[in-house]
């Protein structure tokens, strides 16, 4: 890993979520998703999910495996279609939003193309959408600086550590300045140290870009540290059990010290209780979350 870029969280004009006339970044209404299996036993991955995410808001989806959090993200990304209900992204259908490139996405695997340099990987979406060469170079330089990898522009992915690869993937997802970032456990494969550093960086990057984020994770501290709201989900069928507002102050103010603050612990406790607690009917299915 390179040294941590010392960023003193410069506020950017694009700014913070404000209640306004703008359509919500994501609006999920009554969405269900049933996977039909060949043996005739259908699996209900999501049932009657409602969720609205404001522009610029950071929302984490957390829950044990099989709770449908990744499925929900994939529905928003239009990588799958809901069985019923509707999904809108900035007032458009999920499909239109995908075609209009309204969101950027990052997966658990960095998913960089190994034959492209770091810079060329970041420029991939721009290249595919016919952005001119000069504009591409300017944008990728900007993003390289943003994720602190300017010195690695001409390296290939296999020459980078896992954390650096993930930063490139994040830069790539930001390439077209989307108003919404979809992240499916982007730090899931990283070690704890790298992970915390990446979280701090992500908070800074989001503050600088003003993008709304839907962040899938199975780590409670991660969800709490990053989010404005934590959506706790329960499995079989996947439902939203609880939505916990985390008020840890403006993104620019979040730093390593926050991890030891009381307010942080309080939020962690309430998310944990919601996750494990009052499982009225069924015993809370916990298990090891691998996705």
């Amino acid at each position: 890993m390179s040294t941590e870029p010392t960023e003193s969280g410069q506020p950017v004009a694009q700014g913070q979520p404000v209640a306004s006339a703008r359509p919500p970044a994501v609006s999920v209404a009554g969405v269900s998703k049933v996977f039909a299996s060949r043996k005739g036993t259908d699996v209900t991955a999501l049932e009657a999910v409602d969720l609205t995410i404001a522009p610029g808001e950071f929302v984490s989806l957390i829950g044990p495996s099989g709770c449908g959090k990744s499925t929900l993200l994939r529905l928003i990304a239009d990588l799958d279609t809901p069985t019923s209900g509707s999904i809108e992204v900035f007032g458009k259908t999920a499909r239109e939003a995908r075609i209009d490139q309204a969101y950027g996405i990052a997966f658990q695997q960095a998913g960089l193309l190994p034959w492209r340099t770091v810079r060329a990987n970041i420029e991939l979406p721009l290249e595919l959408h016919k952005v001119g060469k000069a504009a591409r170079a300017a944008r990728s330089s900007e993003l390289l600086a943003l994720v602190g990898l300017s010195d690695f522009a001409d390296k290939y992915p296999d020459q980078l550590s896992g954390g650096m690869q993930q930063r490139v993937a994040i830069a790539r997802s930001l390439a077209e300045s989307p108003g919404l970032l979809l992240m499916d456990e982007p730090f899931g494969a990283l070690d704890e140290m790298t992970r915390e550093r990446m979280q701090t960086e992500l908070v800074r990057i989001c503050a600088e870009t003003g993008a709304a984020v839907v962040f899938v994770t199975h780590s409670i501290p991660e969800a709490v540290f990053l989010s404005n709201r934590v959506v706790v989900m329960s499995p079989r069928p996947g439902r939203i059990r609880d939505i916990i507002a985390v008020d840890l102050g403006r993104a620019e103010g979040r730093d390593e010290g926050l991890r030891e603050a009381d307010s942080f612990f309080e939020a962690v406790v309430s998310v944990r209780e919601s996750l494990h607690g009052e499982a009225a009917g069924a015993p809370a299915a916990r298990g090891v979350d691998i996705r």
């Binding site: 990304a77 239009d78 990588l79 995908r98 075609i99 490139q101 969101y103 996405i105 997966f107 695997q109 960095a110 998913g111 960089l112 193309l113 190994p114 034959w115 991939l124 979406p125 290249e127 595919l128 959408h129 290939y156 992915p157 296999d158 896992g162 954390g163 690869q165 993930q166 494969a189 990283l190």
Partner: protein, 294 residues
């Protein structure tokens, strides 16, 4: 995929060493082996050691520097062999190229349409079970009926066609595997960019297929050379190494070192073909990097 390590000089040295060892084993067996060869039952497993069956290495080499016909002022043997080698190499190259293009197209169609894969793949596999000897005369006869304007089918085209028939197979199989090799992750990423099949093919599937394609191209080159040499014989095309091998074999009685010259030529053709593919691999090095898992 990339084989790193030994520097070039060392690899060349090892290659030369291999040839020297082979020659030494040849001479050693010739000196020490039984004159009647080694038999297991009625089966000869090692050849007789007579000069007729196993000429000395130096005789074979020396033969290259004498005229083609022992008595006469023909061109030197190595010149004749080299000429024939390049002729065969040219025909093989055409066959290889046609085979690679056809193989790639088949693979792309099969990747694009699942039904095409299930419809085509068995036939592609089956095509390789047809013996060359059987199709060579057919190809020649069909070809001779083609005459469009100034264009008329020539025998060398039949040979190239048969070479391509052998060459396309590994390419279609290798390319299909390569085109289907990208992770779901990458394919979905392209989907989120809402780009179509064509852009996905160019930006993702083709580059990802390179590590699968290179061994296939090498196999195709070897197949094209073998196809050319064999087809030259069965079609009766003059000027190439295949025909030369047959012709000189007839002279083995009086001039045992002579048939070995075109065999060396065939080896040279094979090496050159493999070398060209290696150069292609060198040009595509950046597509052969592996992404280290996070």
């Amino acid at each position: 995929m990339t084989r790193t390590g030994s520097p070039l000089a060392r690899r060349v040295l090892l290659g030369v060493l291999g040839v020297v060892v082979l020659a030494a084993v040849w001479e050693l067996y010739k000196a020490l082996g039984p004159a009647t060869g080694v038999m297991i039952g009625d089966l000869t497993v090692l050849p007789r050691t007579s000069d007729l069956a196993m000429p000395h290495v130096w005789d074979m080499v020396a033969r290259l520097f004498r005229p083609v016909r022992s008595a006469g002022d023909d061109e030197l043997m190595w010149q004749a062999v080299l000429k024939a080698s390049f002729f065969s190499l040219g025909v093989a190259a055409v066959g290889w190229l046609v085979g690679v293009v056809v193989g790639m197209l088949l693979a792309i169609v099969m990747q694009r349409f699942r039904t095409a894969e299930s419809a085509l793949l068995p036939w592609i596999v089956l095509s390789q079970t047809v013996p060359l000897i059987a199709i060579a005369p057919l190809v020649k006869r069909w070809g001779s009926q083609i005459e469009v304007g100034d264009f008329s089918w020539e025998n060398w085209m039949s040979v190239a066609l048969i070479a391509s028939y052998l060459a396309f197979f590994p390419v279609s199989i290798g390319a299909l595997r390569g085109l289907e090799s990208p992770d779901v992750n990458h394919v979905e990423l392209m989907r989120t960019y809402s780009v179509g099949w064509w852009a996905t093919l160019i930006r993702l599937r083709l580059p990802a297929s390179v590590p699968y394609l290179l061994p296939a191209l090498r196999l195709a080159a070897a197949n094209a050379v073998i196809g050319t040499v064999v087809a030259e014989v069965s079609i009766g095309l003059r000027g190439g190494i295949g025909r030369m091998i047959v012709e000189y074999a007839a002279a083995a009685g009086g001039d045992p070192a002579k048939p070995w010259a075109p065999i060396f030529g065939a080896v040279v053709v094979g090496l050159l073909a493999a070398g060209v593919v290696a150069l292609i691999g060198l040009a595509l090095t950046r597509y052969r990097r592996g992404e280290t898992p996070a």
